[in-house]
Symmetry: C2
Subunit: 434 residues, 2 copies
């Protein structure tokens, strides 16, 4: 086999064999195939796509480029959730302990913030002392004890994906559905799970702006799951406005704890329950959606889910008092609340602009080497569709550096539209795909 | 500017500016832009193409990545010819001295054999002592004295193309018309010429198999010439069977000398006169095609063209006696003549197979580091359309190593078709494009 032949076959629209694809993945992981050949290949994939069989073989090769966890020692079903990334999407924080409290093992390996979106790891690390850098044996031990562990990517998991992602990032081949799908699935399936629930975002704050693209991505990931004998279901969910009311790391931990107390914003609670129910169904600990939701609601209301979260925080070195007393989480020196200049109904709170504004305040990175201000972020005082009156608060900016406060404020304001009449908005849960 | 932005713009079908393209070419020539970004870009060009304006800017940037000869000190028009490569195509050897003898400067920089096609440099180097490695000041001096010099690519000419070609060669982006066209034109325009005649081959022995592709390539190169204010015309010519009767380096020198003596095969002589007439017209030393052909024919018949060739051979260190007495050119220890097994008319002599067979005999390289056997090659005894009888010779194989003699013979035979009835063949000169 020659890399040249694999490239030209894909370029000409041919279908690559399992052997050709796994050879290519091995070759670039080991460095035998040069980066310039890999980048030509992935650009050809951008234009030609991959068949379901090709994608299955490609993903499997990426998966087996590193350690695939064997969690068969755990005496129960293992299910995870993955979101394609949004603004204010802190679902994993309440969801993982909630589902674990329902008897499902949740071995969750998450990422950092990317662009305008936040990352689960950054949010968790705003809890004083919390470490997301467990090694794989610690990860397994904690899973066994608490049913859940929340860690970051390790170098053992899918090294091919890590290498490929770095190359895609500089060759304009990130937004390519087969490559996105195989990247996600290779990492998630390396967790040794039985099933996976996908939250594929669509809308102005999502990477997939259109419903159609989101659907293609969801179906592509489900197809990969099918080829690899894993149960995968997906929800396409709206990411036009931020999820919940808080955007920023410690602020999102607070809102997550509210959900775990049975409180919190309705949209966030709805999504946690919907995705949680899917996880219980995939795990077969429930057979009926309504019953699953009843069970999860009870675990939120009776404090068991919160207790599990606190156990996890303690196990991963975090300060449990900062969860019991949320004022102990990192805060902000500067707070500014912006008021509405008129009466009306909120038509739009641009999630992309909210994410970018939060980043300006310090809640996200401009480059990967930047450090995050855990206390920085934005609190919304309304959701789209709400009625506001003149001089009522619209949003509050939190930051420890006033450097970009004005820019963040202007950017935020430019993304909010208030109209005289209310308008209908699309539901949060757009479409379920199986 | 970022390489990323240039790649994504092309990937998305955008039109790049002159500034973006010249920046990109400079970047990869200097090594500031990484090879993996360049290869992703050229694969995107493969799928998206380039507009005439983009190609003009791209070619200009490649041209100015190195030395552009200033031949304004020469007191006359400077015109060159380029062929896209065929089998038995030795046109440059008789054409260059012939046109120089008619008073046009011909600064010809040629290449080596590629794949199944021969290269002008390899043919010239089969003349004992002949050097194609003149430096640019020797090249200019010889041009001034003899009106013609025949040399190889120098490192000063279009280094961007050299680097890009090496990358295209390993990333399956060689057969991409805009990249082929800009590669040829950047090198040819660096010769400091006023006009260029293109011989774009089409047919089973050409890189462009279809007439349509050949036409697109021809038009693309003419468009580049237009943007850069150079007079360019093209002939699409048939490359179904080899040109002339000889394939192989010394054998093709012999056939070239026959042409220069006013003899030689009709198809080869026709093409030399047709392309030569175009060069005289571009150079404005003649205003009428018929007159140009009369003049060129006279220069062949009166020995002036041959005398000019001998002057060039002497100037470039070659042995003039080997031209005057062709038996002094390198020969072959082994010769085998294959006879026809039946009576009939020749329907096909596959140029691609003839080129490959000659390469098996030692006339071409399998890899760039191979050395060539200058005496090796094939002599055809017929052209397509000719009548043959059983036991009449079809072709003779010449080689100094019997290693692949049998394979070459079988491969040759598999490319020859003899039918009972004659068939019409397409003309050598398929279409003129201006």
């Amino acid at each position: 086999l020659l890399a040249y032949d694999v490239i030209i076959k894909k370029r000409n629209g041919g279908i690559l064999s399992h052997q050709e694809l796994s050879w290519f993945v091995e070759g670039f992981t080991s460095g035998k195939i040069q980066d310039y050949q890999v980048s030509a290949f992935i650009m050809a994939v951008y234009f030609r796509g991959m068949s379901p069989e090709e994608l299955g073989a490609w993903t499997e090769a990426m998966l087996y480029s590193g350690t695939v966890l064997d969690l068969s020692f755990l005496p129960g079903p293992k299910v995870d959730k993955h979101s394609t990334g949004g603004v204010g999407d802190k679902v994993s924080l309440p969801l993982a302990p909630l589902v674990a409290a329902a008897g499902v093992y949740v071995p969750m390996i998450s990422g950092r913030g990317l662009g305008h979106t936040g990352g689960t790891l950054d949010k968790l690390e705003s809890i004083p002392g919390f470490s997301t850098q467990l090694d794989l044996s610690q990860f397994k031990n904690q899973l066994k004890q608490l049913g859940c562990a929340l860690i970051g990517q390790t170098k053992e998991i899918a090294p091919a994906d890590k290498k490929l992602y770095a190359l895609r990032d500089v060759t304009a081949t990130v937004d390519c559905i087969p490559l996105i799908a195989s990247s996600i699935m290779s990492k998630k399936l390396a967790e040794g799970i039985d099933g996976l629930v996908l939250d594929v975002k669509t809308g102005m704050g999502a990477f997939m702006k259109s419903h159609e693209d989101a659907k293609v991505l969801a179906r592509t990931m489900i197809d990969i799951g099918k080829v690899m004998n894993k149960k995968v279901i997906a929800w396409i969910t709206a990411m036009d406005q931020p999820l919940g009311l808080c955007v920023g790391n410690a602020l999102e931990v607070k809102e997550s704890v509210e959900i775990l107390r049975g409180e919190g914003p309705e949209d966030l609670r709805t999504l946690v329950l919907a995705l949680g129910a899917e996880m219980l169904l995939l795990a077969k600990v429930e057979t009926n959606r309504e019953q699953a939701i009843v069970r999860l609601t009870r675990l939120l209301d009776n404090g068991e889910a919160l207790a599990r979260f606190i156990d996890i925080v303690v196990a991963q070195g975090g300060d449990p008092q900062s969860i019991e007393d949320l004022s102990r989480l990192p805060g902000a020196n500067h707070e500014e609340t912006v008021l509405s200049e008129k009466d009306g109904f909120i038509l739009q709170i641009d999630a992309l602009k909210t994410g970018a504004s939060a980043r300006l305040l310090g809640a996200g990175r401009q480059t990967m080497s930047d450090t995050i201000d855990p206390g920085a972020g934005i609190i919304l005082h309304n959701k789209v569709g709400d009625k506001v009156e003149k001089n009522q608060p619209l949003f509050s900016l939190h930051t420890n550096s006033k450097k970009h406060l004005q820019a963040a404020k202007e950017n935020m304001l430019s993304g909010i539209i208030i109209e005289d009449m209310p308008t209908q908005i699309r539901p949060l849960l757009v479409e379920r795909i199986e």
